[in-house]
Assembly symmetry: C2
């Protein structure tokens, strides 16, 4: 009997391999041999991660049209081969370009990089998943339209980020809320259009989100229910005025009153964009790396050194950045309200292009007499942040991923993978109240320190009522002990935060299995819906599917 079983197993493996070979041949027919990657070195590159372990795919297929995606999906279905779509693979710290498990076929959508429509009057565009932030920014020059950008850099995909519910900095910072209409390839190759998009000639397909009947868009966010090949994205008409505001809070316990004050201004719609409140370490990580030498190799960062860095870089315990957008008069009115309400307790600095130009001029004058270096640095920093607040994608946030990397970084723009940056985001959501923010800090702070890491923290008022608290375990991937400790720290953080009701808004492969946590009906239903659309389970198995992750049924 055992021998027969063995032979049966061997035969199954052989049959599976034959099916996979046939599928790869079908992929080549569908997209051209040049766009099917099976070369070991290339697969290893795709398998690199900012997480503790790499995750090598079986192959990579790069379709260039929706029809090609449909053909790829059908071939995978016949072979029972699992697919994992990526847009630009820059899901930094949440899995990067990797599937949740090795051996899946990556569907790399980078060749689908068409900007299909830009409507100036109605202020939207329709784009494919391969379109990068930098590419859209370029295309929008001279149109009078602004986009919203995340910190993932000019090379990151807008569609990929939106489907993972990412956010940026402008009034269009909640990306899901700015999306209108999707085109989705389902597991059986059918093409679904959501909203009104499935009606021929529908006039409001890119301007009215819900369509008629059930709204299906939510199914394709943070899931493995289909491959999104197109979305509509709303854009912001360039406002008459854009005024950045920056507030430095020197006391750690300014957090509570600041969050409460910001919530009230958000609820009153004086402030209308995503507001970011970063701690000292978050800001420092964008400007410098862990001071290994000054710390004598010790971790976590000693208190006195932290205080010194804060002073040297002019950084507060908490640092608020946001902007006012709108007509000149409305921005001026909002500025007065902000100054009156926040200015009583904190120093609010307002920055716009005009002010920056004045400071720049002053800095250059001072330079003639050998002064003004600090002012010039501040002008450069201010310009960078103002860009971000205007939706300009920059590489400015990526160095933060390298906080704990030792030694020199490769030259050129930061690539977290090439830099061996270890990055595990822990992103609990809290109600927008100072007390809740404090509670998150009280839970997470000690766990970070116990594991030898520093809490790098941003609280983002993504809406008037919710804080996305984005923290990350930063580590050096070349240090196996540190990487293992990072994973343990991640586990402890997610466990402790979820136990207290702070659920992550987003997670990566290490977190998918943790999402079930005593809420069986929701995940059972999600699974039922997934099974209805993808009975063979070929689409992104395991992605945001804790039941699959827990039982490894696939």
């Amino acid at each position: 009997m055992p021998r027969i079983v063995m032979e049966g197993a061997a035969a199954q493996v052989a049959a599976r391999e034959a099916r996979a070979r046939r599928a790869l041949a079908a992929f080549e027919r569908a997209v051209g041999a040049a766009h099917v990657v099976v070369d070991e070195a290339a697969l290893a590159r795709y398998g690199r991660s900012t997480g503790p372990a790499d995750c090598r795919p079986l192959a990579v297929v790069c379709p260039s049209t929706t029809e090609e995606v449909q053909a790829v999906v059908r071939a995978a279905g016949r072979a029972g081969l699992p697919l994992y779509p990526i847009a630009r693979g820059r899901n930094w710290g949440y899995g990067d370009a990797c599937a949740p498990a090795p051996g899946q076929v990556i569907v790399d959508l980078r060749r689908m990089d068409r900007i299909l429509e830009v409507d100036r009057d109605l202020a939207y565009c329709v784009i494919e998943p391969g379109v990068t932030q930098g590419q859209l920014r370029e295309r929008l020059q001279g149109t009078g339209l602004w986009m919203d950008a995340t910190g993932a850099g000019p090379g990151a995909s807008l569609v990929g980020n939106t489907l993972d519910r990412g956010f940026g900095h402008t009034p269009y910072g909640d990306h899901v809320a700015s999306t209108c209409g999707m085109e989705v390839v389902l597991a059986d190759g059918r093409l679904l259009r959501t909203g009104f998009g499935h009606y021929e000639g529908a006039r409001a397909a890119s301007t009215y989100r819900y369509g008629v009947g059930p709204s299906l868009d939510g199914l394709f966010q943070q899931s493995g229910m289909g491959i999104v090949t197109r979305i509509g994205l709303w854009l912001m008409p360039a406002p008459e005025a854009c005024l950045g505001y920056f507030i430095r809070c020197d006391a750690e316990d300014d957090l509570e009153p600041m969050i409460d004050a910001l919530r009230r201004l958000r609820l009153d719609e004086v402030l209308r964009s995503a507001i970011h409140v970063g701690n000292d370490l978050r800001v420092l990580s964008g400007r410098t790396r862990y001071p290994w030498e000054r710390a004598g190799g010790r971790t976590p960062l000693p208190d006195d050194l932290r205080a010194a860095l804060r002073r040297e870089h002019g950084v507060g315990a908490w640092n608020v950045a946001g902007a006012l957008y709108g007509s000149r008069e409305c921005v001026a009115a909002a500025r007065r309200v902000v100054r009156r309400t926040l200015g009583r307790r904190w120093r609010v600095v307002f920055v716009d292009e005009r002010r920056l130009a004045q400071a720049d001029l002053l800095g250059r004058l001072l330079a003639r007499v050998g002064l003004g270096a600090r002012l010039r640095r501040q002008v450069d920093l201010g310009r960078d942040v103002l860009k971000v607040l205007q939706g300009v994608p920059t590489d400015g946030a990526l160095p933060g991923a390298c906080w704990r990397v030792r030694g020199p970084l490769p030259p050129g723009p930061v690539d977290p993978l090439a830099a061996n940056a270890g990055l595990l985001w822990v992103s609990p959501v809290a109600p927008a109240s100072g007390a809740a923010a404090r509670e998150v800090m009280d839970i997470a702070g000690p766990i970070y320190l116990e594991h030898g890491f520093e809490p790098l923290v941003t609280f983002t008022l993504i809406t008037p009522r919710a804080l996305c608290c984005v923290t990350n375990v930063a580590f050096d991937r070349r240090e196996p002990e540190e990487a293992a400790r990072a994973a343990a720290c991640y586990d402890a953080l997610v466990e402790a935060l979820m136990a207290r009701g702070f659920i992550p808004y987003r997670t990566g492969p290490l977190g998918f299995g943790k999402l079930a946590r005593g809420s069986s009906v929701f995940w059972d239903v999600a699974r039922q819906l997934k099974d209805a659309l993808d009975p063979a389970g070929i689409m992104s198995p395991g992605r945001y599917d804790p039941l699959a992750s827990m039982h490894q049924t696939r």
Copy 2:
């Protein structure tokens, strides 16, 4: 053979009746006999409609708790009895309290009228489906929170309206966009909580909408996928200032430039609420009824009479109503921008409490010398509209449903059913452009007139980019010929508008079957998802399900 078939059919009927009797007994055990309605007169009352035909249910069950709803659903599942949930049954003109087909069991949720939570700081509430607009308004007195109300009156349900994607007048006018978290009883009796609500002790369940993993809320809007027993609803902190604005456009072709100007102000966020642009007939229908006598019984309304009514009531060809909300300074700034941009071409009247009080005083002074009657009427009208713009539910819009009713109306607040008002909404969505609005008018206007009806029209800028165009066929239900003509007019309107890409945002039983229109994948997928959650098809069969409606498979 025929006889055996007959006997078989008779046996089947008998078996079905036995199952129905057992189900009714189970309902009685679940909710108490007093809350199961089988009395013929009562069922006839439930079956009344503003549509052309009544639709009598088999029974009505009135659960008072989620657990009772679960028990009812399980009993219906065992018996294969179709259920149709209603909240307050005031889905006027879209089916009212009626299921799409006779013989279903109405689950009347009016006893589930608990306001479970009101959070002043985070500005939200959690409510059951039986909670009425008037009830929530009452509860919010003194809390510093405002709600948004529709024109369906104080007795209408907030949950029911939200699930049909209704909208109101304030910055929270898009009700779906203000909802956060649902509790849903599924067809098999399981209880699903969406967003973060399925995690025990989740802190942001009512403040962050998406949860983690796929977002399922959209499935339960405009569908028959479950019975929603609870939702979170965001509320607006009472603004420091609320300034209504009213614009009368005397020329019919003011529509295009007005819509374009309003879109730009919405996109620039100078205007931030749902803006309503009603034609003369829409406004007149709220203040008077069809002038049967003056028209000598003729329909549609003769042009000269329409012009006379317009003059007599001081109504424009197009009439804009909206409000500015926020801090005093921000509202004052927005007012200046509105006056500058719209005031060049049109007369903009701003109205707030203070101005109304002044006019009121003046009117009362004039009354002493026998003057000021018109001013006093205007003050009363202004006060009513300002209430609506402040989210106060009123009965003010309901008389509009009675436009074509002949003879005296029953005394007391308007009840469209008691008044024999015939009402069929046709509600196409257009992009927010003047040209598109004109196109809708050019399609719909002639069809209304050809069928002997007048186009009563409102364009609502529900978002900066979309217009919900709400028109209605108004008729007298006691006139069979007129009712038949109304149904024909409805069919012609929906057909013509959909053919040109103007798809309805919402529809009633007469429209469900029209929604498939050459978009098979979307509706097939919706059906697959429905089948996954409700394989026996007991939940609201036919509701927003064109495949069921077309083939009458259930």
